[in-house]
């Protein structure tokens, strides 16, 4: 468990506030100006600081795999993403430093102007679905029923794979489908292209290693993608 310095500041504020409040509850001093100023600190200033730091830390925590994986229905997704032998898109990307521990968030977040808020709103939808339905399923029941709420956008892939590089355009399939890929008509993460990001959850599993066409692809390169 990693606790950031900000969290320690929040904890200090909370402890000081709690000590003042417990002191009041035990000794009940008369509420004169001095006591009220102290209580203003205890129920106002210090808890607000704790809440603000808690918000910062809480929102940062929602970007980590551990948060996504804290629902049992995501166990297999996380296990596959962190499997060093897996060739799924999720695993390949999770092995790079750009994604790493935040791979769920980096791939699934919205990249628009209100992307952060929209992503969090979508996350609330996931919480609702989990509480209202999936929480009561075990993995075997849940896996066939879990599906992405909206089709995965190619725009998310294109944050890194710009579709303008020479090597990328040298691949015949990329070149022939360029407009379809840019507009999202053809999904990068689909059977026949790069395979599903979480292939174990699909009835017809296909990963880059399963698709013969991909054996001709050049080795991934950060340049020219």
């Amino acid at each position: 468990m990693h606790v950031s310095p900000l969290s320690w500041i929040a904890l200090t504020c909370a402890v000081v506030a709690a000590v003042i409040m417990i002191y009041y509850l035990i000794y009940r001093p008369p509420l004169n100006g001095r006591v009220k100023a102290l209580m203003m600190l205890a129920v106002g200033v210090l808890p607000i600081m704790t809440a603000m730091i808690g918000n910062l830390e809480g929102l940062a925590a929602t970007e980590h795999q551990a948060f996504c994986g804290s629902c049992h229905t995501m166990d297999m997704h996380i296990a596959d993403a962190n499997d060093p032998d897996s060739l799924s898109l999720a695993a390949i990307h999770s092995r790079t430093i750009k994604f790493g521990d935040k791979s769920c968030y980096v791939c699934h977040k919205d990249y628009g102007m209100f992307g952060y808020a929209m992503t969090k709103l979508g996350g609330m939808g996931h919480v609702y679905m989990f509480l209202s339905e999936y929480a009561w399923y075990d993995m075997e029941e849940a896996l066939p029923k879990i599906h992405i709420a909206r089709p995965f956008k190619n725009d998310n892939c294109m944050q890194c794979h710009s579709t303008t590089g020479r090597i990328w355009n040298g691949v015949a399939d990329h070149n022939g489908l360029l407009e379809d890929l840019r507009t999202g008509t053809t999904s990068c993460a689909s059977a026949g292209c790069h395979g599903y990001a979480h292939p174990f959850s699909k009835p017809d599993e296909e990963t880059p290693s399963d698709a013969e066409a991909h054996t001709a692809l050049p080795a991934p390169s950060p340049e020219g993608t």
């Binding site: 904890l11 709690a18 129920v43 808690g54 809480g58 980590h64 919480v127």
Partner: protein
């Protein structure tokens, strides 16, 4: 009884120390929920801190503000300086 009259009656009769006790108890519960999320960052503690915890904390602070309002209603406001005596017209 209209809501306004009801609120005024409450502000006239409420016990400040009892309100402060409620504020402290709620504040301690809110703080406990908010600090839990700092050390366990699963979805339950994080969401509890950012919704229920902060809601309870806000309620606690609102009770404290009610105490301040009660005090302000009972306070006697006195001007800090005595009124000046009217100047006497100078004799020519």
């Amino acid at each position: 009884m209209s809501p306004k009259v009801r609120i005024e009656k409450f502000l006239d009769n409420a016990s400040r120390s009892r309100l402060m006790v409620y504020a402290c108890v709620l504040g301690l519960i809110g703080l406990a929920l908010m600090t839990w999320s700092l050390f366990d960052q699963g979805w339950i503690p994080v969401m509890a801190a950012m919704s229920v915890g902060q809601g309870i904390g806000t309620l606690s602070f609102a009770l404290f503000l009610v105490i301040v309002i009660i005090d302000l209603r009972k306070a006697e406001f006195r001007p800090s300086l005595p009124p000046r005596e009217p100047q006497k017209p100078e004799n020519d």
